[in-house]
């Protein structure tokens, strides 16, 4: 019987939420890796029972965990993330050179076709790949050693590579995003990279053609139309129809265009979702009303989705990897909050229900649709 499995990473452990296709009743297991920060967990599209998880603390560093049975059991695999060669420096907050130093893995992106291949986006920004199920990691150094690398600087959360998108039609094409360097595309399986930030406008960057320096928060793509990308930038919701070569703003009637997550409906590539947040200095919804905004026109025209979401006294945030969709006939959409709630909608956002109320702060949510 079909169903959904949600992989939820939090500040103090991981949780696995499962339901049948009705998505009305959920079983909750966890905390897995209790007490550890779980930045991201994700399953292999080629083998849904193969899961990867990023586990870290400030005390004991980074671990990568792997499950081969859908999260029932886990095995620590490789955690040696060594930059290739002498990593040199990037730019620090004050404009001075700062040595590149590994801090943690923000995002894990399993290959679309091979369960043993997985990509890791790390802080300080770099892209790593494992082809043996996470045991060994090699840097795809062409990204970090791009000529613009020494001028990259961190966003407020660190200089993290947080978004990795694998193109399902062009096998050698992938996209990444880095705070606060911007978006990059490779057309040769990660050997070389091109900044794709033309059209982004950021306060504080006077040059409208600046190659890097933009605080991209997340990018989303629909698998049927990989040349179209949607971006939630620090401020502004953006759209590209040419694989990132150019961007245009589609914030339209949003009440604020600051936010972190953005996602695409599983069956309608023009339907997208964001969670507007008041501002970069006030990371909570406007007026204490938690509202997801949906556009059915690929941007510009947005409607608030409120049924089942708190409409008063709500001051949580929704982080960049904390929204996901399933691919059942009626598309399910899910998000987690820094207040520890995970909300679900089984009807593409029209109605919402909290699955769980009191988890630690949610860092990531990934939905797996199970056959």
């Amino acid at each position: 019987m079909s169903g959904v499995r949600l992989l939820v990473g939090t500040r103090k452990g991981a949780f696995i939420l499962t339901s049948d296709a009705k998505r009305a009743n959920w079983d909750i297991s966890g905390p897995h890796f209790a007490g550890w920060e779980m930045y991201h967990l994700k399953g292999s599209p080629a083998d849904p029972n193969r899961l990867y998880a990023s586990q870290s603390t400030g005390w004991f560093g980074q671990l990568i965990q792997r499950s081969d049975d859908g999260g029932k059991t886990w095995e620590p695999v490789g955690n040696k993330f060594a930059y290739e060669g002498n990593p040199g420096t990037h730019m620090w907050y004050d404009g001075t050179p700062h040595p590149w130093k590994f801090a943690r893995v923000w995002h894990l992106e399993p290959s679309l076709t091979d369960p043993d291949t997985v990509y890791g986006g790390v802080e300080d920004a770099a892209l790593f790949r494992s082809t043996d199920g996470g045991k060994n990691w090699e840097e795809l150094a062409g990204l970090r050693t791009h000529s613009s690398g020494p001028s990259w600087n961190p966003g407020a959360g660190g200089m993290c590579l947080h978004t990795i998108i694998l193109d399902p039609k062009h096998r050698d094409r992938m996209f990444v995003a880095i705070s606060a360097a911007g978006a990059f595309r490779s057309d040769d399986a990660g050997k070389t990279w091109k900044p794709i930030n033309r059209g982004l406008k950021s306060e504080g960057i006077p040059n409208p053609n600046a190659e890097v320096g933009h605080c991209v928060h997340r990018i989303a793509m629909h698998k049927s139309r990989p040349e179209v990308l949607f971006m939630q930038k620090h401020w502004d919701v953006m759209r590209s129809d040419d694989s990132g070569d150019s961007w245009k703003e589609v914030s339209g009637n949003l009440p604020t265009d600051f936010g972190f997550p953005i996602d695409v409906h599983a069956h309608d590539p023009e339907t997208i979702y964001v969670v507007p947040i008041k501002s970069d200095s006030e990371h909570f919804p406007i007026d204490g009303k938690l509202r997801v905004y949906r556009s059915k026109s690929g941007g510009n025209e947005w409607e608030p989705l409120t049924k089942g979401l708190p409409q008063r006294d709500c001051y949580v945030n929704v982080l960049r990897d904390a929204m996901s969709v399933d691919s059942l006939d009626s598309c399910g959409i899910y998000f987690g909050t820094t207040g520890g709630q995970v909300y679900a909608s089984a009807d593409a956002g029209d109605n919402w229900t909290p699955i769980v109320h009191n988890l630690p702060a949610v860092l990531s949510v990934e939905a797996q649709t199970l056959a």
Binding site: G35, W36, T57, G58, W59, F60, G61, Q62, L63, P76, N79, K80, F81, A82, F102
Partner: protein
């Protein structure tokens, strides 16, 4: 035989309870004990000291016989009581943060 007491998170990770015991050839030092721990429990590689630089993690401390060995050179010999197994080598997650 060297007795080692791990912090709770690392005991969970190594799937052990209580103390662990490792063998070290010759006079035990900080680094030889750490090497022996990581050889017996490979999942602990990178958790006590950085995988690449081999430097002690900032919030991990080493104690033996009520003395702090955290800032000593890694080839510092450990006390006789640790070498004889009458006292443990303590790896402690420092109290910091909230």
């Amino acid at each position: 035989m060297i007795r080692v007491l791990l912090p709770a998170h690392l005991k969970t990770l190594a799937r052990v309870r209580g103390e662990v015991q490792v063998d070290v050839a010759g006079r035990p030092t900080i680094v030889s004990v750490l090497d022996a721990i990581e050889a017996s429990y490979p999942m602990l590689q990178g958790t006590i000291r950085d995988q690449v630089t081999q430097e002690r993690r900032p919030f991990v401390r080493f104690f033996a016989c009520e003395e702090d060995y955290s800032l000593e050179p890694v080839d510092t010999a450990l006390p006789d009581a640790v070498a004889k197994g009458t006292e443990p080598f303590l790896i402690v997650g420092a109290m910091a943060g909230g």
